[in-house]
């Protein structure tokens, strides 16, 4: 396949596009986590401490994906 013809090409700030795509999933995830967390606190205000701790833990686990998306273009870019 050495004589492959390039039909179309994407150039420009691909890192930015990649970050945009990488942020979709974590964005939804963080929204769900905090939405459900606030709902849980509203239903059981006395469990605030435990709910908040688990909320932050889930937030950190989800947010990491978006951050890897942010850092990857710098590390693997060019």
């Amino acid at each position: 396949m050495s004589s492959m013809v390039t039909l179309s090409e994407v150039t420009g700030s691909l890192g930015s596009i990649g970050y945009g795509l990488a942020a979709i999933g974590p964005g939804i995830g963080v929204g769900i986590i905090f939405g459900q967390g606030v709902q849980a606190i509203a239903r059981q205000p006395e469990a605030y401490g435990v709910i908040r701790q688990n909320m932050i833990l889930g937030f950190a686990l989800t947010e990491a994906l978006a951050l890897i998306g942010f850092v990857a273009p710098f590390v693997f870019g060019k």
Partner: protein, 273 residues
């Protein structure tokens, strides 16, 4: 001084002066050695982040020695702050996550929390202005320390067989699923875990520092004798100040999350489930 200050101040690029935006890249995270020497054929490089690492360790140790040196039953002054920090880690992290068996691990979690927090906080201290944890080796070393603690601890407390069974074979699953589940669990619990544990901290600090530097450079770049330039520069400066406040929140949160995850991993080791 490398990093944001040098990048912005040395550049004479401004809007409409015929040169593009000097966007910062990953090179702002590398520092030249201030001093280097050889011991036994190995070359040691002493650079700014390394000195900041020592300073952070000294700050944490000195602060808490001062706080608890003359501990009294009714705390006064600095001892109040020290006890608040200690109780936060003991009740909020160790006891909530590990339970009664968590108390022996409080000193370690306490040290991790405050050391990581001070390292992160250096990101916004004038003249330091660099989060040491955005050098990947440092959070990786912390994560490896935690890994080397909880895996042998689990083997010791639960026995090798039941510990690895608990970590790799989730209960109440059809037998046939184990073909698929065991490799996934091994991968996520033993191989990727120290990596994600450290990348979370590293990436947060890297991204935060990068954002602040980008907007600082933009403030300087946009400053030019035109309406758009002055408005844009003012807007960038406002964003820089806002981001600095936001970073303070993220720094404390990431130190908390790092310690919390260390506690969660220790919980896997000490409490059989």
């Amino acid at each position: 001084m490398s990093g944001s200050a040098l990048l912005a101040a040395d550049s004479s690029c401004h809007l409409n002066s015929g040169c593009g935006f000097p966007a910062p890249d990953a090179t702002i995270f590398t520092y030249d050695a201030i001093w280097q020497f050889d011991i036994a054929g190995l070359t040691f490089h002493i650079s700014k982040p390394m000195i900041m690492l020592w300073v952070a360790a000294a700050v944490v140790v000195i602060f808490f020695v001062l706080a608890f040196r003359k501990a009294v039953v009714v705390p006064r002054g600095i001892q109040n702050i020290g006890e608040m920090g200690y109780l936060f880690v003991r009740d909020g992290i160790a006891r909530d996550t590990i339970g009664a068996k968590g108390d022996p691990f409080v000193p370690m979690l306490f040290s991790f929390f405050f050391f990581v927090w001070v390292l992160n906080f250096m990101s916004i201290v004038p003249f330091l202005q660099f989060p040491v944890t955005s050098r990947f080796a440092i959070p990786l070393a912390f994560a490896v320390l935690v890994y080397l603690l909880w895996v042998p601890l689990g083997v010791k407390r639960q026995g090798a067989g039941s510990f690895f069974k608990a970590m790799t074979m989730p209960p109440d699953v059809p037998k046939a699923m184990y073909v698929l589940l065991i490799p996934i669990e091994i991968l996520s619990n033993f191989i990727v875990r120290p990596f994600t544990h450290s990348v979370r901290l590293f990436a947060n600090m890297f991204a935060g520092h990068m954002l602040i530097v980008t907007f600082s450079v933009a403030t300087w770049y946009l400053l030019s004798p035109s309406v758009i330039g002055i408005l844009g520069s003012a807007a960038s400066f406002t964003v820089t100040v806002g981001l600095t406040a936001f970073e303070m929140l993220i720094q404390a949160l990431q130190a908390y999350v790092f310690t919390l995850l260390a506690a969660v991993y220790i919980n896997d080791a000490v409490n059989a489930h």
